[in-house]
C-alpha cells in the first residue's frame, strides 16, 4: 500500500499542456471545450470501431488515455456502446467481414452520428486497398465527417482531428 502511494507521489502529475507552439491546437482546444458543453452537454462520447485495422491505430488511440494526453480533460471519453456515442472513431480499411457490423454500429448511433476515419487505411484503404476482402475507405461504407491521416496518426494528430471536427460541427 505505502509503496503504491510512494510511487504515485514520486511520479507526480504528468499531464501536458498542448504544445504551446501549436497555435491551431490551442485554439481548437478552446473551441472544443465550448462546443462540447454547447452541443454535447459537457461530454463527448466516442465509440471506437476497428473495421479491419492492423491494430497499430488502436495502440495510438490507447495512448490518448495515458497521463500525458489525458483526453478526458476535454470532456472526451470512450464508451462501450454505440447507443451512448456521439462520435464513431473508425480504424482500418473496412474488411468485408466487418461491413455489416460497421453499418449496424452506425445505425445504432444516435444523431448527430459523427464519424471520424482514423489512419491511412480508413482514409483510402491504405496498404490494403479495395479487394475481395476489403471495402477500402470507411467512406465507402458510412458517411465520414473528418479524416485523420497517418499510419498510424500519433496521439496529437488524433486529438487535433477530434478537435477539428468539433470546431466544424459547432459552426
Amino acid at each position: 500500500m505505502f509503496s503504491v502511494l510512494g510511487r504515485i507521489f514520486k511520479t507526480g502529475c504528468l499531464t501536458e499542456k498542448l504544445p504551446a507552439h501549436d497555435q491551431v491546437v490551442e485554439q481548437l482546444g478552446s473551441v472544443c471545450r465550448k462546443e462540447i458543453s454547447r452541443i454535447f452537454g459537457g461530454s463527448l462520447a466516442i465509440r471506437m470501431v476497428d473495421a479491419g485495422s492492423c491494430n497499430g491505430c488502436e495502440l495510438e488511440m490507447h495512448a490518448l488515455n495515458n497521463s500525458f494526453y489525458d483526453i478526458e480533460r476535454f470532456g472526451i471519453h470512450f464508451v462501450a456502446s454505440p447507443r451512448h456515442a456521439d462520435l464513431l472513431l473508425v480504424t482500418g480499411p473496412v474488411a468485408r467481414h466487418m461491413q455489416a457490423a460497421l453499418k449496424g454500429t452506425y445505425d445504432a448511433t444516435p444523431d448527430p452520428k459523427l464519424v471520424i476515419a482514423m489512419g491511412d487505411c480508413a482514409a483510402d484503404g491504405g496498404e490494403f486497398g479495395v479487394s475481395y476482402a476489403s471495402c477500402g475507405a470507411v467512406a465507402n461504407v458510412v458517411p465520414v465527417d473528418v479524416v485523420i491521416r497517418g499510419c498510424p496518426p500519433n496521439p496529437l494528430q488524433l486529438l487535433e482531428g477530434i478537435l477539428q471536427l468539433l470546431g466544424r460541427s459547432g459552426r
Binding site: 510511487r7 476497428d50 497521463s67 500525458f68 496498404e127 475481395y132 476482402a133
Partner: protein, 536 residues
C-alpha cells in the same frame, strides 16, 4: 507433479537431421529439396504420407508450427513447418488444384486444426480425417466453392455491394438446465480488435468458449502478390501493427535468403535493437492492461507512462512511435550516431531502475495477485499439445525461444536467458513478461555496446528468375514465420506470414473453462492474440 526435469521439451525433441531419419525409418520416402533458402531444411514427401509424417513427428515431441500452400497451376504446393530442437523442417508435398486432397495432420497435432480449415477455405484443398469440417476464414464475402488464394481468383473478387453478416456459423452448443449462451462481438466494448466469442455459461462459471475469428480478414496474402520486395515488406509491417518490426524482419529475412545476400552486421544488430524495443513496448502496455482489467489502475497508469516515454524515444531516434517501416529489404532505414546511442543507453538505465522498483511491487501486491493467481490456467500438457508460443508457452513451462534455440544474427553470440514458470496462470504470464523486459534491456545494452561499424543497408539485388526463402524471428508474441516466393523481376508470387496468434488463440478456449465470466477480459488480455495477425 511437474519438476524442472520436465521443462525444456525442445531439449528432448530430435534435431532436424534426426527427424528426417525418423521419417525415413518409418517407411516414408523422402526427397531432400533445397529450393527454399533460409534457416530451414525441406523434404518432399508424397501426399499420402502427410498424416503419417505428422504421426511420426508427434511421437517424437516435435512442435507443429504451420501449414500453408501455394498455387502453381495445375498443382498446389503444400508446406508444413515443424520445429525440432535446433530449427525448422519443412515438409513439402503436391496435390492437384482440382479436388486436391490429402490426410489431415490435426489428429496428431490439434494446432493444425484451424490452419488446415483455412487452407480448405482459401485453396479448396480437402483434408480427410479432419475432425472439424466447418469453414473457418470464409464468412460471407465470397461463396462456397470460390477460393481466393487460387491464381484464377482475381484480387478484386466478385463481392456483393453489401456483405451480409455471418449469422449462421454453426457454433457448438451446450445443453442442460441453467446453461445459457453469451454472444460477444464482433464489435467489442473497448479499444480492441473485432472477433466473436460465444460463451456457454452456468451462473458465473464459463462452461466453454468458442472463438469465431476472421472478421478483419483483409486479403493480405492476395494483395502481396505482384508487389516488389519493398512493397511486400511495407505490407508485412502491417500484418499486425504491434509486431511491425518482427513481421517486417521475418519477411526481409525470407527475401534476403531467397536472393542469397548476407547483410552487414551493423544492419542486423540495429534490427535486433528495434525488435527488443518492440518487445519491451508491448510487454509494458499489456502488463498495464492486464492490471487494469482487474481494476488495479495504478499499474495501468504507471505502465502506460513508461510505454509512452518509450514510444517517444522511438519517435525521436527512429522517426516512428511504433517503429513502422524502419526495417527495409537489405537493412534498416537510418543509422545511429553517437548521441543517439547515448540517448538509448540512458533510456535503458532509466527504465531498468524504474522497473526494479515497480515489478516486485506488482509480483507481490496481494489484492492484484489474488485475482491473477490460479486464473486462466494453461497446463504444460495443454501448452505442448496446442504448440503455443512465446510468453504464453513459457509461463506454462514450455520455453522455446528462437533467439536461443535457432539463433540468427545478432543473437548468435549472446547469452539469452529465457524466463519461464510452471504456474501457467495469468500471474505467471504477467511475471514472465516483466522478466522478459529485464532480459531485453540487458540484450539492448549489449547490442548498443557491441554495435559494429559498417553500413546499415545494402542494395537489394535484381532478382534473376524464380527464388523462394523462409524467415523466422522471435517476436514479442512468439515465433513468427514467413515464406516468400519471388518471380521474374522480383515480383512476389506468394507471401505467407504465420503470426504466433494462430497457435495462441486456441489456448484461450482451453484456459477459460471453469473461469468466471468477469475474469474473461483478464484471461483474454493475458494471452493477447492478434486478430489482424491471425485473420490476415
Amino acid at each position: 507433479m511437474i519438476t524442472q526435469a520436465h521443462l525444456g521439451w525442445q531439449s528432448l525433441s530430435p534435431d532436424v537431421e534426426s527427424l528426417v531419419l525418423l521419417l525415413k525409418d518409418a517407411g516414408i520416402p523422402t526427397k531432400e529439396q533445397s529450393k527454399i533458402q533460409g534457416p530451414v531444411k525441406v523434404v518432399m514427401i508424397e501426399s499420402v504420407f502427410w498424416g503419417k509424417a505428422a504421426a511420426v513427428a508427434a511421437d517424437n515431441r516435435v512442435r507443429w508450427c504451420a501449414v500453408w500452400a501455394e498455387h502453381r497451376p495445375p498443382e498446389i504446393d503444400i508446406f508444413a513447418a515443424m520445429a525440432g530442437r535446433n530449427g525448422h523442417l519443412l515438409l513439402h508435398t503436391l496435390v492437384p488444384d482440382q479436388q486436391g486432397e490429402l490426410p489431415s495432420q490435426t489428429p496428431f497435432f490439434p494446432a493444425a486444426n484451424r490452419p488446415e480449415r483455412y487452407l480448405r477455405d482459401m485453396f479448396g484443398v480437402h483434408f480427410f480425417d479432419h475432425p472439424d469440417q466447418r469453414r473457418w476464414m470464409r464468412h460471407q464475402a465470397w461463396q462456397e466453392g470460390q477460393y481466393p488464394l487460387l491464381k484464377t481468383f482475381p484480387l478484386a473478387g466478385t463481392p456483393a455491394e453489401m456483405t451480409p453478416p455471418d449469422c449462421h456459423y454453426p457454433f457448438l452448443a451446450v445443453e442442460g438446465e441453467g446453461v445459457y449462451e453469451i454472444p460477444v462481438g464482433p464489435v467489442h466494448a473497448g479499444i480492441i480488435e473485432p472477433g466473436h466469442f460465444r460463451f456457454q455459461a452456468m451462473g458465473e462459471d464459463i462452461l466453454s468458449l468458442e472463438e469465431h475469428l476472421g472478421y478483419v480478414h483483409k486479403g493480405i496474402e492476395k494483395s502481396a502478390e505482384g508487389r516488389d520486395v519493398r512493397g511486400l515488406v511495407r505490407l508485412a509491417g502491417r500484418v499486425s501493427g504491434d509486431s511491425t518490426v518482427a513481421h517486417a524482419w521475418a519477411a526481409c529475412q525470407a527475401c534476403e535468403a531467397a536472393v542469397g545476400i548476407t547483410l552487414p552486421r551493423r544492419a542486423l544488430m540495429i534490427r535486433g535493437i528495434l525488435a527488443e524495443r518492440e518487445r519491451i513496448a508491448n510487454h509494458l502496455g499489456d502488463i498495464g492492461a492486464c492490471c487494469n482489467d482487474v481494476g488495479f489502475t495504478f499499474a495501468q497508469v504507471q505502465c502506460s507512462r513508461l510505454r509512452e516515454l518509450w514510444q517517444r524515444q522511438n519517435a525521436a531516434v527512429f522517426g516512428h512511435r511504433l517503429l513502422m517501416d524502419i526495417v527495409v529489404p537489405g537493412g534498416v532505414k537510418g543509422d545511429l550516431d553517437a548521441v543517439q546511442l547515448d540517448f538509448l543507453h540512458a533510456a535503458i538505465e532509466q527504465l531498468r531502475s524504474e522497473l526494479r522498483e515497480f515489478l516486485p511491487l506488482l509480483y507481490e501486491y496481494p489484492s492484484l495477485q489474488d485475482r491473477l493467481r490460479t486464473t486462466g490456467v494453461l497446463s504444460l500438457k495443454k501448452a505442448r499439445s496446442l504448440g503455443v508460443l512465446g510468453f504464453l508457452a513459457r509461463a506454462s513451462g514450455e520455453c522455446w525461444d528462437l533467439r536461443r534455440d535457432a539463433p540468427y544474427v545478432p543473437y548468435g553470440n549472446m547469452v539469452i536467458t529465457v524466463p519461464h514458470s510452471l504456474e501457467g496462470d495469468a500471474s505467471g504470464r504477467l511475471r514472465i513478461r516483466g522478466d522478459e523486459i529485464l532480459v531485453s534491456l540487458d540484450l539492448l545494452e549489449e547490442m548498443l555496446k557491441k554495435l559494429p561499424a559498417g553500413e546499415v543497408a545494402m542494395e537489394f539485388p535484381a532478382v534473376q528468375g524464380d527464388c523462394s526463402g523462409f524467415g523466422c524471428i522471435e517476436g514479442w508474441r512468439g515465433e513468427i514465420l514467413a515464406y516468400v516466393h519471388l518471380g521474374e523481376g522480383g515480383r512476389v508470387l506468394r507471401y505467407f506470414p504465420r503470426d504466433p496468434s494462430w497457435l495462441n488463440w486456441p489456448a484461450l478456449e482451453v484456459m477459460i473453462e471453469g473461469v468466471i465470466v468477469p475474469d474473461f477480459p483478464l484471461c483474454n488480455k493475458s494471452v493477447n492474440g492478434s486478430y489482424s495477425g491471425h485473420d490476415l
